[in-house]
């Protein structure tokens, strides 16, 4: 018996957000399909993070609907929400590793919570994930504060993919990384998409990531989705905000 997964993984309709007395979003529609790598871009304060927090069910939108795996987030009960949360992984901008645990324990944390595998096997899986993101295995037993910023990011990525999620959210994955590591991380995202069949949503300002790995780019501005197209078309979009954003980068 195979679970049927709808092709549209995320469906956002007429999403509106009011933070304080300011409308951050005034009607966003967005469909994200399976195995796509989507980047969300936009200037500062265009509501990228707010949108991400909406999708992650951390912040309730003022109006509109968000469906993930065909389940409406705003109407979902606790069980449905929990099942969705098991199927996605999130890499936060500031890594958000648990500072009181070693890297390996961080990666094993969701595995220990949600699976019933023998400890030895779990450790092997944990080390596998740590190796997959390109961390030296010797850092597995270190604490996050003993790692450099880039290594913390990788450790956080290892934790995000611990449960083999179907959907991966990455908030500025390459910021703070050296160019070589950033490209390695890009390659990792591509690899994961190809081999694990992941759908990836990333917030990024890194032009190389945008041009290198994304299938489509969603451009937020003026509280709306100004454009949603492959990057090559997006840079030709005449909208002044988009032109300003890419100024000097093409």
């Amino acid at each position: 018996m195979k679970e049927k997964i709808p092709e549209t993984i995320i469906e956002i309709r007429d999403l509106k957000n009011k933070l304080g007395d300011q409308w951050v979003h005034s009607g966003i529609n967005l469909d994200i399909h399976r195995k796509e790598i989507i980047a969300v871009v936009g200037g500062s304060g265009s509501g990228k993070t707010t949108l991400l927090r909406n999708i992650l069910a951390l912040l309730k939108p003022t109006e509109g609907s968000i469906k993930i795996f065909g389940i409406d987030l705003l109407k979902a009960n606790t069980r449905e929400l929990a099942s969705i949360r098991n199927r996605w992984g999130v890499l936060f901008q500031k890594s958000a590793l648990f500072s009181s645990m070693t890297v390996l324990d961080n990666v094993l944390f969701p595995l220990r919570e949600f699976t019933r595998l023998p400890e030895k096997f779990l450790q092997e899986i944990g080390l596998l994930k740590i190796g997959l993101v390109g961390l030296p295995l010797s850092s597995s037993y270190k604490y996050p504060s003993e790692l450099s910023g880039g290594m913390q990011k990788r450790a956080a990525a290892a934790r995000a993919i611990a449960l083999d999620p179907e959907l991966l959210f990455l908030d500025e994955p390459t910021s703070g990384l050296d160019p070589a590591s950033a490209r390695e991380l890009d390659r990792l995202i591509l690899d994961l998409r190809n081999s694990l069949g992941l759908t990836v949503i990333l917030i990024t300002h890194d032009p190389e990531s945008l041009f290198g790995i994304t299938d489509k780019v969603a451009f937020l501005g003026e509280g709306k989705l100004l454009a949603f197209s492959p990057i090559k078309e997006l840079v030709k979009n005449p909208h002044p905000q988009i032109q300003k954003y890419f100024e000097g980068r093409i």
Binding site: M1, K2, F98, S99, S100, L111, F114, T115, R116, L117, P118, F121, E124, I125, L127, L128, K129, G131, L132, L137, S138, S140, Y141, Y143, P144, S145, L163, D164, D191, N194, S195, L196, G197
Partner: protein, 375 residues
């Protein structure tokens, strides 16, 4: 419905190993627990058939990799594999990863050696004492400097400390002092009543409250409220690298953070003691009237003639020391926070315990000193 969990069927007649079920995190839990104990074939040329696998994730691929290792260890040759294309990619990814890293052993924990632990603990405490002393010294220098340049007292921050550590503590301090006064008068009253020495309750409770209970109770409450908040505040700043930011701007955290807190607390502490004294005495006064029938005017008259003002001054003289202990311990523990969330909690606990410990030690020292001085 077929069985969803991962399974291995070994057909020794046909040299066939058939893999079935869903090889994902949830499906492999039984197999992962027992795969080492399966009776694996030896010395054969095998065909691995994975076409009946319904689902595979990286954990499943890793299990498969481990099974293959065991097969090879049993000196089998694996002739052919049969897997679906989607699963092949996953297996390739995992095997490539497994090949590029040799297995890593966790670092060995040093064996427990009591002598080593004793030495380590001693050195750690000596260092702590040294650092605490350095902080005290540095603060003293900054306070002396601030007398020359009054701006360095940072009046807004000092007032803030006075407001939060002093003013906001008034209600709780009043209530607890009152209750202590009541309890004290009640317990002593029981004894005095049997001797008919009711009136001595004024001297006893007056002296106890003014000399010991007022200052000590104030110190303990302020230590619980304020020392913990100083530690948490400075500790969180340290985790956020705000302390480093101050240092790089050439601003001393001691001067910027510790000085106003300490000075504010030293200013407000005698006032808090006065407040606690007043409510403590009020409590014993109420209890004396209710239990022993001593009227309020008599109580006041006796206070004046028997207790006098000297006990009040003795109690008050401890104030700056207690205040400095609380502020310094709180700030010092804040600076020792390391970059993790549980360290903030740990140091906060430590700061309250240490502050109260030091206060009681200091109080004992004061008692000895005052008795030498004949006060």
């Amino acid at each position: 419905m077929t069985d969803l969990s991962a399974n291995i069927e070994i057909n020794t007649d046909k040299d066939l190993v058939i893999l079935k079920g869903s090889w994902d995190l949830h499906g492999i839990s039984t197999l992962a627990a027992k795969y080492l104990n399966i009776s694996w074939p030896t010395h054969r040329t095998l065909t691995l058939d994975g076409t009946q696998i319904t689902k595979m994730d990286s954990a499943g691929a890793w299990l498969l990799h481990q099974c293959k290792n065991i097969l090879t260890q049993h000196e089998n040759t694996i002739k052919t594999y049969d897997f679906r294309d989607v699963h092949k990619e996953m297996i390739a990814l995992v095997e490539q990863e497994a090949a590029s890293h040799p297995p890593e052993k966790p670092p060995a924990q040093p064996a427990f050696d009591p002598l080593y632990q004793l030495g380590k603990g001693t050195v750690k405490r000596i260092k702590e004492g040294y650092n605490f002393l350095s902080l005290t010294g540095e603060l003293t220098l900054y306070i002396l400097k601030a007398f020359k340049q009054l701006r360095l007292f940072q009046f807004p921050n000092t007032c803030n400390a006075i407001y939060h550590c002093g003013y906001r503590a008034l209600p709780i301090l009043a209530l607890l002092s009152f209750l202590i006064g009541v309890v004290l008068a009640y317990q002593m009253g029981l004894q005095l009543e049997t001797y008919g020495a009711n009136i001595f309750i004024v001297y006893l409770s007056g002296m106890a409250v003014l000399r010991e209970f007022g200052p000590l109770l104030t110190a303990i409450i302020v230590a619980g409220r304020t020392s913990s908040s100083f530690t948490a505040e400075i500790g969180t700043m340290k985790v956020n690298e705000e302390i480093d930011a101050l240092l790089t701007m050439g601003i001393s955290p001691t001067q910027r953070l510790v000085l106003p807190k300490t000075v504010g607390l030293i200013i407000v502490f005698p006032l808090l003691i006065f407040w606690a004294d007043a409510f403590g005495l009020f409590g014993s006064m109420v209890m004396s009237k209710w239990m022993l029938g001593i009227n309020y005017p008599d109580f006041f008259a006796r206070m004046k003639s028997d207790v006098g003002v000297s006990h009040y001054y003795i109690g008050l003289s401890k104030a700056p020391f207690f205040a400095a202990i609380i502020a310094l311990v709180g700030c010092y523990q804040g600076f020792t926070v390391s970059l993790s969330a549980d360290s903030v909690g740990f140091q906060t606990t430590k700061s309250v315990v240490q502050a109260i410990f030091l206060i009681i030690i200091a109080d004992a020292i004061f008692s000895v000193l005052f008795s030498w001085a004949g006060l």
